[in-house]
Symmetry: C2
């Protein structure tokens, strides 16, 4: 069993570890964990409730604790940090890459952070303070400073001898950077180039000076777009004077892409993407309150629209039965457009130059959808309720609401974007509020005009 | 202006290109496009409606057309393929990487595909048929076959001389693979290793034999998880006998991750992730029909629940005004849980071993939410409507619906997963149907029992 733990899936491992834990075989669990790479232990920790998490953490190898911390998501990291004292933490973070160190320590409260800082060696402290000097979510905050630089006038032969003397390259190095005497970046030489060109040529001869460098203040999401579009593995980061500051590697970019995707998906449901799958009940409940409060406001707004028509509703109860159909269809149609526009903005398809075209297109789809569904729903309702007049009313309301839904689905995210509000977060709620209010108002309003005795 | 086109954003470029197009400056546009890398032209094409897209395509350099096709998303690719004749296409696809070739040609209908195949040279045809032999969305369908292999007994010195003779490495090569005489993969040597170890050592001495290889039949989404977790740049793909077949590189994995994220986000709104942002109106309308049809079914189901209580509704019209609140809150609460569970399943946090824990946790949050919001909504309604009895009824219904919503939010995706239905696609609709039906039934049901005269 022991030998096979690495080949098991996370959940099979969790079963094994839990089995061993509950029968008190701590030594055995410790040996099991020693076999696993830190990223797998991190996943194991994230996959269990806090009580169990604590037990497993205490059985991990102290050598591995730093690497495990790097791999944990924010919520899980914080729950583990709460279990560690300063001394542990300083030991665990020794020699960590700058960006990872910044990530791990950002989970500490101020006093704990100051304590750890005070116990760190001067060089690590300096690197850390520099890294934390860059605003969160910018290129500076995700870059590493472990670059190897070359001068343009040396020969490849010299470079090769230098590297062989060095004996090791920083992780995920695929290129060395060429800087002039002012530390200005002037090009890069891929490892593949070093292995294939004539060794008598100079760095200047073989370097690639067409590659793009990343400004240190660029938003990380823009960095990810450049990596995606250009198929990069690493890219140099420069200051405003083109001086080389560090490099960003694809593994960090993959994390950025994943986090952004999580953020969008969780955000659409009004959830924080850092939310721990197994967070404590009270904490989770509290976190979900904001969105439910916002929705209660929206729901009461919709109710207050219906309330305007209470007299009509008391006269014709069938309206109450049917009044949820039009808002519901509007919400779905609008959300389809919204999803398309949010994706289009994220990929970079949509800008000022074509916003008009897109609005026209989605408005046309809204009108067409309005016609189709007005007809279908009216037929269904007339068959069901045997009342042609209600059929006319629901058809009219459906046409209005689906037309509005198409327009709202494209205009809401465009406007939010201008206002620097994230449409992936707030767009759905805003849209549904519009389609609910318009749907109820048009349906009950027309019913009041045309159906009341 | 010309010189600066590369530095403009996509939308500034689009404005420039459109300006030049509409004033008939075709030669100028052609020169502008020549300056741009293929991935930027692809983005430009995706960012405009079909008529304009056609004009721009006809001005692209035929040399670049193959690379542009590789970069286009499915819908845009298909719209461009429709503009090309067989001869064009054969010329454009010559020498393409196998996985890209398979991607481009998968947009053709059968007869066009056969025509292209017939005109391809024998080697390309063979490679293509092999690539298309692997099921879609598996490691085999995304791998490249351009690996460099080494034998374990040669020295690094020999390898270095061989590479320098070769003069070029395949794109995104970060490691060479070591195979025995039966073509069985036994390890890999990173480029960084080649540059730093003693050149007198043998491949056997310096190779890494601990890295994981990817089975050719593995689902691409699992491949992406392994790359993410292990921070890989490339990985070898093997058949069931561990024979080396090819390699997968991080740029393809980034595409897989992005597509999966798009698929989830668009899928939640009932949209296809291949949907072209600027697809023609009729095509778009047609595509959105399925989801609207499903929703009409769900909306009619909810109405039929209200219909059971028509007598109650005609007696107390206030119920009609308030009846949308309980379903709405249930939908939001349920969707929060749903998003958490879908994310947790995607990351690998959730399996049989902890499904129970998760169900208990979300059920508890549902109960707690139920208590909190029952109280708050009841107070709001009593203040608004001045009727304590309606307050009791809405509190009861809210408690029931939020409790059910928590359970449904965790159980629906778990069950769908067992049934091999994608919960990111169908989960939201199923959940909202449950919370609508339960919300309306409990609210109107209790009102009928307790409020009717």
């Amino acid at each position: 069993m022991l030998d096979n733990l690495v080949n098991l899936s996370t959940h099979e491992r969790l079963v094994e570890v839990n089995k061993a834990l509950s029968s008190g075989m701590f030594v055995h669990v410790r040996r099991m964990l020693q076999q696993l790479p830190p990223e797998d232990i991190a996943l194991l920790l994230e996959s269990c409730p806090h009580a169990e998490r604590k037990n497993i953490w205490q059985l991990t190898d102290s050598e591995q604790q730093g690497e495990i911390l790097e791999e944990l998501n924010e919520d899980a990291r914080d729950s583990i940090l709460a279990l560690m004292d300063t001394e542990n933490l300083v030991a665990a973070t020794e020699g960590m890459d700058t960006d990872d160190l910044a990530y791990v320590l950002s989970g500490l409260n101020d006093s704990a952070y100051q304590e750890v800082l005070a116990q760190m060696d001067a060089q690590d402290r300096h690197r850390l303070e520099q890294a934390l000097g860059y605003p969160e979510d910018t290129a500076g905050s995700v870059m590493n400073t472990d670059t190897i630089t070359l001068r343009p006038d040396v020969t490849i032969d010299v470079v090769l001898r230098y590297l062989r003397l060095k004996g090791e390259l920083p992780e995920a190095t695929d290129a060395l950077y060429v800087v002039n005497k002012h530390d200005k970046l002037i090009g890069e030489v891929a490892l593949a180039t070093l292995l294939t060109v004539d060794t008598a040529s100079t760095v200047m001869d073989v370097m690639d000076n067409t590659r793009k460098s990343i400004p240190v203040a660029m938003a990380e999401i823009e960095v990810a777009k450049i990596f995606e579009r250009r198929d990069l593995i690493s890219a140099p980061v420069v200051d405003q004077n083109d001086r080389l500051l560090g490099r960003i590697t694809i593994d960090d970019v993959v994390d950025i892409i994943r986090e952004d995707a999580d953020h969008k998906m969780m955000g659409m449901a009004g959830m924080d993407d850092d939310e721990d799958t197994f967070a404590p009940i009270l904490k989770s409940t509290k976190r979900r309150t904001i969105w439910l409060t916002v929705n209660l406001g929206a729901a009461l707004l919709a109710s207050s629209v219906s309330n305007m028509f209470e007299a009509t509703l008391s006269e014709i109860a069938t309206l109450a039965v049917l009044m949820t159909i039009v808002p519901s269809m509007g919400g779905i149609a609008g959300n389809q457009t919204l999803a398309l526009v949010i994706r289009g903005m994220a990929v970079g398809h949509i800008g000022d130059s074509n916003a008009r075209t897109l609005i026209m297109k989605e408005a046309a789809i809204g009108l067409l959808n309005g016609l189709i569904w007005a007809l279908l729903v009216a037929v269904a309702v007339v068959i069901w309720k045997g009342d042609v007049n209600i059929g006319y009313v629901i058809a009219g309301a459906m046409f209005i609401n689906l037309s509005v839904a198409g327009l709202a689905g494209v205009c809401i995210p465009l406007i939010m974007n201008k206002l620097k509000i994230d449409p992936a977060l707030a767009g759905g709620m805003a849209l549904t509020t519009v389609t609910d209010v318009v749907g109820l108002f048009s349906f009950l309003g027309m019913a009041t005009i045309f159906l009341r005795a």
